[in-house]
């Protein structure tokens, strides 16, 4: 019995001894991931995502449809050698867009907002400028593809943001760019971007030119928007592009890719046979062939038959896709640069705006300069016989054919760019015919909202079909 008198208290002490252990459980602090990081660490992956995911249409895991790839299908530059209906036959469904919204809102916009708030808060204004320009660039593509989009109420964990009207988003785009330009006049502060800025290496004058060039892009998008006139938009665009890219040295070309593993360019990954296979569409190849375009051998590879052969979208796939032409190395080599916005795009905006304001004769030399800027980009001497012959075959433009000629050449110069889809919707050029075995009855004019938005954030705009028009795409 005596022993019990010892044992009981001892065991109770043991019981109680383990109770003062609030500390014992206090081990839930994440040792793997930091709670805060400096600006440069956020700039690198957001810039990379803008180039690789958004502009380059790079696939993310478990995802087979990206915006930039899809617009290249829909403007019939490329084709998918698979049994229809696929993306090139307009089969794009809400769940295909989940990864796109993840890239746009989570990877890019949310992190640009964190970057901007941090930079502005600490007076590191150069980072603030970059965050704003990239935000405008991304938001612009988003609204062009989807129409009304969440922005003013979105991000930072907002669970059910209503969508902003596209017209309001367009006003926001210009104001974001204006504030970026204004902020660029401020002292960049003690910490400024340099090698962490893969696009411009911290040269802020180029960022400002990029901001003005984007302003011009967004002005020209509204040429037929309800309540806006083409003349006014052309004037605004011409004014903005005065301060835009002045040569191809200024253009927004993301040129850090290399053949090293894990550093390859997005289009080099997109055209890997297992990811498609993606080949060139007959519409694009035949257009260049018909006009003896000297750019064809650079933009396309030869098929296994030794010729340039495009695939007719919607037909039975070839057993061996090697018969078709592929995307040329200039665009699809591992070290190929990815264009966010090219100097030649700005030249074509200038040509179009000049045509709207001053007519075909005034626009003709600007149009020629625009074509030549792309020849130059591809390494073709604009004074070479082939280039001169090509330009001669396209000029002079008349008031009747100017818009078609300019948009056809912009479609070539903006090869694989999302802008082609905007230009086709705005101008109807290049003339596209509906593909064989289409998934929807007419060529789509927008993207579906992602499934994740449909289920978690129901909004009236989500009922729109992909064949419906966005606000600025007035008939």
């Amino acid at each position: 019995m005596k022993k019990i008198i010892y044992i009981l208290p001892l065991s109770l002490i043991a019981l109680l001894g383990t109770t003062g252990c609030k500390k014992y459980l206090d081990v839930n602090k994440d040792p793997n991931n930091p709670g805060d990081v400096q600006e440069s660490l956020l700039l690198v992956p957001t810039e990379m995502a803008v180039s690789t995911d958004l502009a380059g249409g790079g696939l993310t895991i478990g995802n087979f449809t990206t915006i930039a790839q899809t617009t290249a299908y829909w403007t019939q530059q490329i084709a998918l050698n698979q049994l229809p209906p696929q993306t090139d036959e307009y089969r794009v469904r809400p769940d295909d867009m989940d990864q796109q919204f993840l890239a746009i809102y989570s990877t890019i916009l949310q992190n640009l907002r964190v970057l901007n708030n941090k930079a502005v808060g600490q007076g590191h204004h150069a980072y603030g400028v970059i965050a704003k320009v990239l935000t405008a660039y991304t938001l612009g593509i988003t609204t062009d593809m989807f129409g009304d989009v969440p922005y003013s109420q979105a991000l930072d964990g907002a669970l059910h943001p209503t969508y902003d009207k596209q017209e309001d988003v367009y006003k926001t785009l210009q104001s974001i760019l204006d504030s970026a330009i204004a902020e660029n006049a401020l002292d960049p502060g003690p910490i400024a971007p340099s090698s962490d800025d893969f696009l411009y290496g911290g040269v802020m004058t180029k960022w400002e030119k990029f901001a003005y060039s984007l302003k011009a892009r967004f002005y020209i998008h509204l040429t037929k928007a309800p309540g806006y006139t083409a003349a006014t938009q052309a004037g605004l665009a011409l004014a903005a592009l005065q301060n835009g890219f002045s040569s191809k040295d200024d253009e927004a070309s993301f040129a850090v890719y290399s053949s090293a593993p894990g550093q390859e360019s997005p289009w080099s990954q997109n055209v890997i046979p297992g990811n498609g296979p993606i080949v060139l569409a007959t519409t694009f190849v035949d257009f260049l062939k018909a006009s003896n375009d000297p750019r064809l051998p650079i933009m396309a590879t030869k098929g296994s038959g030794g010729n340039y052969l495009g695939r007719i979208i919607g037909t039975v796939p070839a057993p061996d896709p090697a018969v078709y032409s592929g995307v040329g190395d200039f665009y699809a080599a591992p070290q190929a640069a990815q264009s966010l916005m090219s100097y030649s795009e700005l030249e074509f905006i200038k040509a179009e705006a000049t045509f709207i304001q001053s007519g075909a004769a005034a626009a003709n030399p600007v149009y020629v300069a625009a074509i030549n800027s792309h020849m130059d980009e591809l390494g073709i001497n604009p004074t070479s016989a082939a280039a001169v012959a090509y330009v001669a075959s396209r000029t002079p433009i008349t008031s009747g054919n100017a818009m078609q000629r300019m948009m056809e050449d912009k479609w070539i110069a903006n090869f694989l760019s999302i802008e082609n889809f905007n230009d086709w919707r705005r101008t109807g050029f290049p003339v596209l015919t509906i593909v064989q075995n289409p998934y929807v009855p007419t060529i789509p004019r927008r993207f579906p909202y992602p499934l994740a938005e449909l289920t978690s954030n129901p909004q009236p705009q989500q009922a729109l079909k992909i064949t419906d028009r966005v606000w600025w795409d007035a008939p």
Binding site: I7, A154, P261
Partner: protein
Amino acid sequence: MRKTLSVITMLLLITALATAQNREITGKVSDSTGNAVSGATIKIKGLKGGVSASVDGAFRISAPQNGTLVISAVGFETQEVRLGAGSTIDVQMRTAGSRVLNEVVVTALGIKREKRELTYSTQELKGETLVAAKTDNLVNSLAGKVSGVQISNSTGMPGSSSRIVIRGATSLVGDNQPLFIVDGIPIDNSEAGAIDATGGGPDNTALSQGSGSNRAIDIDPNIIETMTVLKGAAATALYGSAAARGAIIITTKMGIKSSKPQVSLSSSYSWNTPYYMPFQDKYAQGTGGKYVDGNNGQFASTSWGPLIDTLRVNGQPVKKYNPQKLFFRTGHTTDNNISVSGAGDKSRYMISYSYLKTDGIMPHTDFARHSVFGKFSNQITDKITATVQINYISSVNNRVEEGNGLTSPLWTVFAAPISWNPFPTTNPDGTQRLYRVGRNNPYFLLDNTGFVSTVNRFLPVATLVYNATPWLSITERIGADIYTDQSTYHESNLVNLGVFNNNGGVTNRTQTFRQFNNDLIVELHKNLTDDLFGSLTVGTNLFSQNSEFYQQIGIGQTVADFYNISSMSSTTSSDILSKYRKVGYYAQANLEYKKMLNLALTGRYDGSSVLASNKNYYPYGSAALGFIFTELMPSGGSPLSFGKIRASYSAVGNDNLSPYSLTTQFINATGTANNISYPYNGQAAFLLANVLGNSTLKNESLKEYEGGLELKFLKNRLSFEGSYFYRKTTDLLTPTPINPSSGFFKYNLNAGSMQDKGIELLLSGTPIKNRNFTWEVSANFTRIRNKVLKLATGVDKLQFGGFGGGGGVYAFTGLPYGVLYGSKYLRDSATNKIIVDDNGIPQVGANGIIGSTQPDFLAGLSNTFTYKGLSFSFVFDWKQGGDIYNLDDHYNWFYGTPKATANRNPITVPGIVQSTGKANTTPITAQTWFQTVSNIDEAVIENSTYIKLRSVSLSYTLAQSTIKSLPFKSITVNLSGNNLWIYKPHFTGSDPEVSISGSGNGQGVTNYLTPTTRNFILGLRVAF
């Protein structure tokens, strides 16, 4: 801490019950083998009170001169001994016979109790049964034997994982498998999976690279004495939140007292032959009936060519190949075990060594496991017994990738044309030789890729039992589970579109796992009155888990045929540390009245490190009642020899949450922009995680009602056990998808609710039993109905497995857990008829629900016939219903290789023409039909019903008279077969018991998995 106070009060009350008698008797209680029976109750007939024997069986009691001692112990027949003149009495107890029902089972915390007392459902399997099952993975040895339990093997790959779920799913995306406990210490049963070199996450990795091993595969069945399945929350509440999904309690063997050591040797060898995928063997490579000669540089992925038998190329017939027979081989398993055990007066021991080696049916795949086990117990003093044990396991598993990644050789085995000769595997220039583009030669992959996982694991346990008084014992038990899993995957840069994207590479992953568990348990048991027996257990638990995943990815092979990571052109590393701790305080009280009425109450208070700091302690408990109504009936006469009804209610908390889910951190940006890896050009990169942390997460809750009936008839020759349960989980800890416009993709929430209802029946009997011949039969049946009651607000479905395009395995509100969702045929909304286009071709419609993976019921049947030394037994396992997404068909129909594509008559799809609204009359070719519908998920859903002959075993133990002159105690020869026969009325693949997700939640999807095997086993067992 109020609970602890009430515990103290109870302790003090019981202490106060002291007894005083007149004459002192000492003695010892032992069993028929001479081993001490500790804890036996010694009472004086006709008097209240009594004493318990100490750990060495000794007792001391005061008794009247002419009294009678009544000695009882769990598992033995009660004995009465009249006291004579002496003051010392040794009692030998007889093991309980079949007439008296006092089967002993192991319950939570390793406490042994008589099954009759239990107020909940358990089922026990003996170690011999598990050994006899001859499965590499311990989990598979349960198949067909336990009610309420679903076992799903994943593939025929050596070392493949197997999933076990008790009483249905309770978590949406978290773990649904039970807790595994070896000798009171929880062990890890997680699955590390294939190497995720691309940062795609475990789901994508499983789909494209296959799965891994569940770590219970490390446990050698040879060391197991018993394995008890605790099913409901009432049975497991004492274990705490980790056992909310049920528990598998493994008790290891221990030596028994004998004059000399018992030496046992066993050895077996098995031949394993594959269940081939049924395929068409008529048509050659090509398309539209035209031959494409893949042997001579032409390319085509399809086998929609001409009949091969009449095909001539340059006048010569085209040779036919069987791609599967060429590729697979007969696998072999050797399993050897030696054990030595024994016991002396004060100590007992057991030493065992096993070596298992399986060579898979796929070349270059194998699984080898060494298991060393030692257990030693010693009675240090009269009252203190110490037991120390260690189990060391070393395993090496060589695998080849499975699934739909292009490094899976099965792509070009199951989809290869029969006219294609896979040899030579390379062209003269060293490149791969193949019949199509964009894939790899299967034999080339075997030589140029590989995955090896090397595991070293220690499971030490130390137990100290202090029998302070006959009615009070204190147990201190400390144990650990420590292992490292060193895995390496390598791939040549000649592999087309592999994990490393034509660059070649090596990934090294080291998983270090350390888990410690400490229990301090105080047990009191006492006859409170003659009719009322009470026991009380109180204890504390400390638990700590540390793990580290260190991964180094080396991309860019620089030296041919050489795969050290230092020779790769670039390397990146990641290191994921995880720390998880818990504390628990628990108490259990049992009251038994007249061996008729049992009341069990348990309570537990848990603290968990992973929950919000103001919500990380949570209480729960259970109450249960059992009533043995046959005690009220007159004995004899009635065919009913035992009858019990029982009912329980339990409410259990659960912290099914990964550490660090409360905050939103910045994460390394690798994987967020396609192929790009960071640091990039020397620049590191971080992004805010896209899973939004939640600092308010609390435990999820499970409530369960259980009722049961146990009956024994005809002197226990026939017995029945049935249970019904209803369980509901709420506040499920779920990373829930949210609108991406929030800037995040998932949000950690307490959201969702699920219910499981089920019945479990077990019928067993001995139809024939005489001196020479016995026939024993046991049948079990399980039917579980699961329903997802609620998901987070604004979420109607949740994906936890599957494939691209939104198709996969989902939870939908109002439907059973694990429905299959994907594209359907385009149908006319009025008539539900398939809509075809003007060419008669069906169209892909919207996504919808296309199947459910939940089975209708599970059943098992075991029979054993024994005639003298000869024993014959077999086990059937039946799974009725449950759909499977056959991704093999999804791909292979397109290619024209499955059996179904042998019929190439044109098909007129019964349906409506979209443009005219009239019935379709336009036939399409078989190729068009199969290639079109291969793209419609609904078309490749198949019912996975199967009946399997799990095992057939014939064993012969040589008669003692035969081996008398030999130095053996016994010799047993065994001939058996596993999975000899599969009945699968609907499934078109080889075996419907498959899963691309391994033991994960995303069950019900198969794609390019190693076929399972038929095993023929020859075994020998010798005892000295």
